[in-house]
Point group: C2
Chain length 545, copies 2
C-alpha cells in the first residue's frame, strides 16, 4: 500500500520536522537526529516538574502532539512501533529537568520500560530527581500480568500536566499520576489492521468480523467477534469495561485509532453516551485521534473515575491543539423549528386579463411538449417538454388560488407554485426567477425590471451565463430588447435560441457531459421554450392591437 512518505528511514524525522514547523514556534527538537528524536517545549520553565513521555512512533498525535503548556514537557520518539533508545530518553530527561525533577510516563511495553528505566537510573546518577510510572490501562487481557499501556495514558498526561503546571512538587505529581493509572480502564476494537510503512498489510480480520481487545501496534486482538454495527460494537466494549468501573462519575476518552471517519466516531460517541455506562460518563474527551495505531480503522474507550480535584485538572485549558478538551456530556439539545417555513399563502384575487394572459402562456408550453421533449432527447433525458407542460397544467389548475390582481404577489405565488410542482434543477431555478422578480416588483420595479432581476438572480445562483447553452441564451436578449417592444423581444429570443444550436460545448447543466457532435444542430430546449413563449406573446399582442 502506498503512503505519503519519502522513505521508511526518514519518515519519523521528517514528520517531526513538519510538526515543529507548524507549531508556531512552541516546539523545538534536540540536535540528535536521526538517532535521538526528542521534541521539547520552547516555553519551558525548568522550576516546575518536567513530564517526559514517548515511545514508538505511529501513535500520533501522541506523543509530540501533546508537548506544551499543561501537558508534556518533552516527548521522546522512537521509530515506528519501536522504543526509543536509552540515550534518547536520557537526552530528553537532561534537556528539561531542573531542580523540581522529572516524571517519566511510560506505556507498559518491555522495550519502553527498560529504556526509560535505565535512562532514569543514569539521570539519577547525575543527581536528578526522576520518578517513573508505568501505564497499564488495557483490560483486554485480564489474565495477563502485564496489561498494555494504551490511550488512557492521555489522562495521566493531562492530570499530571495540570498539577505540574500549577507548580506542584514531584511527589504530588507522581502520586496523582499513580492514582490515575490505578483507576484507568481501556479497551479497543477494530475492523481492520494497520499499515506499517514498508511492510505489506496483514489481512487478518475477515469480512463480518471485528477484533476486540487489540493493542496499538497492530497486535492481534483478544478475540475476533462478529461485527453487527456500531451499537453492538460499543455494547461489547462497554461490557468489557463495566466490571472495572466503580460507582460515581467517570470521564471517557473516545479515541480514533486512526482510520475511522469522523462520522463513525460521532456515531460511536452517541452509542457510548446511550450505553449502560452512559449515566456515569459525565465528561468526554473526543471523539478524536489521540493515541492512534497508524491508519487502523478502530476505536478505543478509556474510562477514569473523576474526583473533584481531578475534574479541575481535566478541564484546565492546555496549549497543545491535539487535546480536544474535556467537555461535559449532555443530551443533544433540540430547538423548535422556526416559524415561517411554510410559505405565506397568497390572498387570491381576480383579474380576467391577467388570467387570460397566463393561461395562454401555459397553453403554448403545453402545446410545445413533444417538440421540446424531442429536442431534449438530443442533449438530455428527453423530459424538458413534459416538465414544462406539467408545470403549465398545474399553474392553470391553480389559477383560482393566485393573487391575479397584485402582480408583485403574483410573481411570488408563481415561484411558489413552480417550486412545489416542478421537479429538478429547472423547477428550482424558475422558482428563484419568479421569487426574485417579485422582490424587485415589491421594490418598485416595472415588469421589465422585475424580470431582469429574476434573470440576474438565476445567473448568480445557477452559475450560467449567455453562451453556456441554456434558456438564458434566449431570455437575456429578449429582456434586453423588451423595452423596444414585444416583437423585438421575440425576434431576439428566437435569434438567441437558434444560436444555441451552434454551441457545441455546454457550460452549465447536464449537457456539459455531452460531446460536441451530440449537441451541434439542435436548439437548447429551454432556450427554444423561451423563444416560443415570446413569439406567442408578440403574436397575441399583434392580434389585440
Amino acid at each position: 500500500m502506498q503512503q505519503f512518505i519519502n522513505s521508511k528511514e526518514s519518515l519519523v524525522t521528517e514528520a517531526i520536522d513538519g510538526v515543529l514547523r507548524t507549531a508556531g514556534g512552541r516546539l523545538a527538537r534536540l540536535d540528535g537526529y536521526p538517532h535521538i528524536k526528542v521534541v521539547v517545549r520552547t516555553d519551558w520553565d525548568a522550576s516546575k516538574v518536567a513530564l517526559v513521555s514517548g515511545g514508538g512512533s505511529g501513535h500520533e498525535p501522541a506523543h509530540a502532539g501533546f508537548v506544551g503548556q499543561g501537558m508534556l514537557t518533552a516527548a521522546v520518539c522512537g521509530d515506528v512501533f519501536a522504543s526509543p533508545s536509552v540515550d534518547a530518553v536520557l537526552a530528553g530527561i537532561l534537556a528539561v529537568t531542573g531542580k523540581a525533577g522529572c516524571l517519566l510516563i511510560v506505556k507498559n511495553y518491555t522495550g519502553d520500560r527498560l529504556n526509560f528505566g535505565l535512562a532514569a537510573e543514569r539521570a539519577r546518577a547525575r543527581g536528578l530527581k526522576v520518578s517513573m510510572l508505568v501505564v497499564d490501562d488495557d483490560v483486554a487481557l485480564p489474565e495477563l500480568p502485564q496489561a498494555r499501556g494504551v490511550a488512557g495514558t492521555l489522562f495521566v498526561h493531562k492530570i499530571a500536566g495540570a498539577l505540574a503546571d500549577q507548580g506542584a512538587d514531584l511527589d504530588t505529581v507522581a502520586t496523582a499520576a499513580a492514582r490515575v493509572i490505578g483507576g484507568l480502564a481501556s479497551i479497543g476494537m477494530s475492523l481492520d489492521t494497520c499499515t506499517v510503512p514498508g511492510s505489506p498489510k496483514e489481512d487478518r480480520i475477515g469480512p463480518g468480523k471485528a477484533e476486540l481487545g487489540l493493542g496499538i501496534h497492530g497486535e492481534a486482538g483478544v478475540e475476533q467477534v462478529d461485527f453487527a454495527g456500531a451499537r453492538a460494537a460499543m455494547e461489547m466494549v462497554v461490557d468489557r469495561l463495566a466490571p472495572r468501573v466503580g460507582p460515581g462519575p467517570h470521564v471517557a476518552l473516545l479515541n480514533n485509532l486512526g482510520g475511522a471517519t469522523p462520522l463513525e466516531m460521532s456515531v460511536l460517541a452517541e452509542e457510548l453516551a446511550r450505553s449502560k455506562l452512559g449515566e456515569q460518563i459525565r465528561w468526554m474527551v473526543g471523539p478524536a485521534p489521540l493515541m492512534t495505531s497508524l491508519d487502523m480503522q478502530g476505536f478505543s474507550v478509556s474510562l477514569l473515575p473523576v474526583s473533584k480535584a481531578d475534574e479541575a485538572a481535566l478541564l484546565a485549558p492546555v496549549a497543545p491543539w491535539a487535546w480536544p478538551g474535556c467537555l461535559p456530556v449532555g443530551t443533544a439539545e433540540v430547538l423548535p423549528m422556526p416559524d415561517g417555513l411554510s410559505p405565506i399563502p397568497p390572498m387570491p384575487s381576480r383579474d380576467p386579463a391577467t388570467a387570460d394572459f397566463l393561461k395562454s402562456c401555459c397553453a403554448i408550453l403545453i402545446a410545445a411538449e413533444s417538440d421540446l421533449n424531442a429536442l431534449d432527447a438530443k442533449s438530455g433525458d428527453g423530459d424538458t417538454g413534459s416538465t414544462l407542460a406539467g408545470a403549465a397544467r398545474s399553474l392553470v389548475d391553480a389559477m383560482d388560488r393566485l393573487p391575479l390582481a397584485d402582480h408583485t404577489q403574483l410573481y411570488r405565488a408563481i415561484g411558489q407554485e413552480l417550486s412545489q410542482t416542478m421537479g429538478g434543477s429547472s423547477g428550482v431555478l424558475l422558482a428563484i426567477f419568479f421569487a426574485a422578480a417579485g422582490d424587485a416588483s415589491a421594490a418598485g420595479q416595472d415588469h421589465v425590471g422585475a424580470l431582469r432581476a429574476g434573470l440576474d438572480r438565476i445567473r448568480q445562483v445557477g452559475g450560467a451565463a449567455p453562451g453556456d447553452r441554456t434558456m438564458i441564451d434566449a431570455l437575456a436578449p429578449a429582456l434586453e430588447a423588451l423595452p423596444d417592444g414585444m416583437a423585438n423581444a421575440a425576434a431576439a429570443a428566437r435569434k438567441g435560441a437558434e444560436v444555441t444550436a451552434t454551441i457545441t460545448r455546454a457550460r452549465a447543466g447536464r449537457a456539459t457531459y455531452l460531446t460536441a457532435d451530440k449537441l451541434a444542430g439542435h436548439n437548447d430546449p429551454g432556450a427554444e421554450a423561451v423563444a416560443r413563449l415570446f413569439e406567442h406573446l408578440a403574436a397575441r399582442l399583434q392580434v389585440a392591437q
Copy 2:
C-alpha cells in the same frame, strides 16, 4: 467494507447527535429530523450577522464542527454527499437570522447552489437580509467554468466569521468573503478512493498511481499520475497552484482528506514548507482533517494571499475545536544536545580482595555457560549462558578500570559496563540493578540494602514478581535470607531456582509465549545462574573461614 455505523439511513442523524452530545452544550439542533438536519450555536447573538453554510455530509468536521463563536452560526447538513433540501436551508436561515442579516457560504455544486439559492429567496420574501456567496476554489479543472468548492471554504468561514463576531455589517462581511473567494486556490491529491457507506468501494487508483485534482465526493481526479513519494507529490500539487499565486505572503491550509495518517500529513507539511512556494507561505492551518471526503487517503492544499486585515481575522481565536489555529510557519528549531549524556568515567582504584571476589563470581558464570545455554534452549533461544559468560569475561577484562576501593562507585561502574557489553533486556535490567544499588549505597545503605534496592527497581521497571519464572525467583529469597548468612542465602536461592521448574506459566520475559509442557521440569536459566552464584559465594566463604 465494514464501518462503525448502524445503518446508512440513520448515519447522519446519529452522528450529529454524537457531535451535539460531546460539544459541551455549545451546540443544538433544530427539531426537524430526519429531513431537516441543522446544527446551530446555543450561544448565538442574533444582533450580529449570521453565517450559514452546509452541504452534503461526509466532509466532517465540515460543517457542523465549525459552528461556534468566531466561525459559523449554523450548519445545514445533507445526507452523505447529498445537498440539504430547500426547507432545511430555510429552517437554518430562519433559526439564526436577525436584523443584521445572514451570509450563506455555499460550495460550488449545482444542488447546493439551487437549494441554498431558493431558500435565500424565501427568506428574503420573509423580509430577511440574505446574501449568498459561492466558493469555487478548486483549480484542478482550469477550463471548467464551474470550479468546485473545496477546503478553501474554511478560509471564508474563518475570515467572515471573525468579522461577523466583531459586529461588522452584512455588506462588510460579504465583501470580505467575496474577496477571500476571489483569492483562493486549492487542489487535492489522493492515493485511494473513499468508502461511501452502503456502497462498494471503487477500485479506481492502481498501484504506483495517484490521482491529482480530485473533488471531495470521490469524483475522479483530473489525471492519474505516477506516485513517487511525498516530495514529488507535493511538488506536483505546488506546480498546479503556483500559476495562481501572486506575490506577497500567503496562508496555506493543509487538509487531510480523511485517511492519511498524521505521520504522512506531517511529512507533507514539511514538504510544503520546503517547496518552491514555501517562502511565501507565512502561516499554516493544519495539517488537520478539515474538509474530508470520508476515509480518502489524500490531502489538499489551499492558498490565500494575506492582507494585514485578513491576518488579524485568520489569527483570531475561535470556539470550535476542529479549527486547529492559524500559526506562523517557521524553521524547525534545533536545540543543542544536553551535557551529561556520556557517563562519567569512574576513577579506577585498587582493592585486591574485591577484585578476587568479582573475578571468582565471573568465573562461576563463565563455567556455567553451557549448562545455562542448555536450560535456556528449553524455554528460549539458548543463549542465556553465553550472554552471562560474555558479560563476565568483559567484566574481568575491565577490572583495571573499575573503582574497586569505592563500593558505591563500583556498583555504578558495573552497571555501566554491563549496559555497554551485554545486549538485550537482561543487560538493561542488570545495568538498572547495579545502578540502583549504587544509588542506595550512596544513600548510606549496606550491601544487603543496596542489593535489595536494585531488586526493587528491576521489579518495578521489568514488571516481574516472584513466581513469574525469572531470576527474581532466586534473587528475592536469597536477599531475604542474606542477613542470616550466605549459606542461608544460597539455600534460599537454590530452593527458589528449583521452584521455577514447577512454574508452567511464565508471566514475564520471552517464556510467556511458551506452553506449559515446554516449561515443566526445567529451571529458569536466570534463576539457576543466581543460585549457582550464591552457592559459590557460600562455598567460598566457608573455605575462607
